[in-house]
Symmetry: C2
Subunit: 333 residues, 2 copies
Amino acid sequence: MNIYDVSEKSGVSIATVSRVLNGSPNVSEATKKKVLSVMEELGYTPNVFARGLGLNTMNTIGIMCSDSSDPFLANAVYYLEQNLRKNGYDAFLCCTGYELVNKQKYLQLLLGKRVDAVILVGSSFLEADNNGNKYIIEAAHKVPVMIINGYLAHPNIYCTVCDDYQATYDATNNLIKSGSRNILYLYSSKSYSGIQKLNGYKDAITSNNLSLKDSLMVCNSGDIETITEVLDKLYKNDSKFDAIITSEDHLAVGAIKFAKKNGIKIPKDLQVIGYNNSILSHCTDPEISSVDNHVEALSIATVTNLMRVLAKADVPNRTTLSNDLIKRETTRF
Amino acid sequence: MNIYDVSEKSGVSIATVSRVLNGSPNVSEATKKKVLSVMEELGYTPNVFARGLGLNTMNTIGIMCSDSSDPFLANAVYYLEQNLRKNGYDAFLCCTGYELVNKQKYLQLLLGKRVDAVILVGSSFLEADNNGNKYIIEAAHKVPVMIINGYLAHPNIYCTVCDDYQATYDATNNLIKSGSRNILYLYSSKSYSGIQKLNGYKDAITSNNLSLKDSLMVCNSGDIETITEVLDKLYKNDSKFDAIITSEDHLAVGAIKFAKKNGIKIPKDLQVIGYNNSILSHCTDPEISSVDNHVEALSIATVTNLMRVLAKADVPNRTTLSNDLIKRETTRF
DNA sequence: TTGTAGGCGTTATCAG
DNA sequence: CTGATAACGCCTACAA
């Protein structure tokens, strides 16, 4: 079943069939109608491989994420796929894990599949060491590279980030204004956005003339239970804190559990702020005030930018979206 | 940069280059070595479109799920992608939503991309009305169709399901054995697995000589807050229940919140069982006893079966995996 | 408005 | 073991 069968059955040349297929205006209404009806009758579907061979594209975008089961990333992947499809693109999903060698290997695989562009979801793709980002830059020589929540200044790389610095700054500032003095910053990774948030925290502390303490900046990549224990230990070791701001909702869940365990009242004696405004923030009691980073908006902006890039339109290297704190029951302001 | 360039530079014909490319044994060690080094030098990558055109496959599998941001589905997609890749296949992701027309449309799109098989994740793909499943059967005429958590008896359709009937039966049974008499079954959808669970519940009730009450089987697809309200209303309307078994963890979260709101002690006066053993079951206080349906095992079994199908090996139409109840703090047994 | 013919980069079938 | 050549199915000048 190919273009020749259609051509034969409808009594026109394959060129005309092809024209109909691609909506060329240079076809008479009559033949167009005839060809279409024959296609329908035969149940003809153009072969994407042959088409790809000629046009050197199959309208496919590669989505890379370290772990698509992470709630934030899962959401991003979901919205990306939806919006890509709206624009006629299919999405290759590629879960790389967190090791550099795998990220490199999978990016190569994707390029080997001749995708039209690559979208990297999550700042975990950017290494602190710039050497670790070479593979991304190399890829950008071949196809546009879109990055969500990470920034790399290079031609053909387009980043969509949310303003994590400002959000954390504001959140910390609000905690201070509402009376907290010893604010613990709890984060799980030193990725691009992890650093942004950390800086927001630091600047808010110092600009309020409070002193920055290393003991109040804790990095731990463990799960809820681990986090609960970590906080417990800090507390028992006489670390004083009256607020916790986190880089991920599950860390905030750990904070809630820690407080309950030790009979600490939230938000009276301890304020807690989560990040991502995921379903987790609704599950606990009290429910967690959390920073909403607008995954959907991030995803839409990324796809919109990508479409412009593919259309050779002008697109800025970085697009920044603002975040909003969703106030629930773990904050006093 | 194509096979001709390599051929020319290495002084052999394109046929030989192709043989090297495909690991044919009929190539002398010497020429093989030479060709490989030239490929390396030129940074040659075979064109997947041309290859696809010849072989009529690009080693691609379509994954369809209604909503990849749902924690359970997100996990499944993650494990599927990982295991497909291990077997040399790439995955097209396709989030269809819950409307039949879209499911049909997207399945066509996927087939149009000439995928080697399709995996449907989640029982939401199976309609109660068998007419609504025609599009799946039609697809099975072209490529193997794998279904996770759904069952459709038809050639070239292979289903991997977890034993939701048994799990719900056992869970309900345990609730009864531990003293509960009025058990509320709370579910969110009448999908294939939704029905399985419901039947397990019913049979456990009747086989314990308790009476089945319509008022104790509640279907609601709302979010946590909605569920809390629904339970609240039931309670205020004097509906008596001393245990709640749910078809999804978030429903159980709603149950916890309802209990807290009304000062009901868990598990003393109310036992609660969740489903999916997702991160949500760790977030609440008390933590939720939940049925683990082994998403990873389901995904692995599906991919394993698929690989066998593609290799023309014999595969049963249905593979059933058992579930396990993970006991936490909301049950007395 | 329509048709002819060449090209896209592989694979596979025959000869040698 | 190697090489020439015909598919694979579509797009697109160029010609008519």
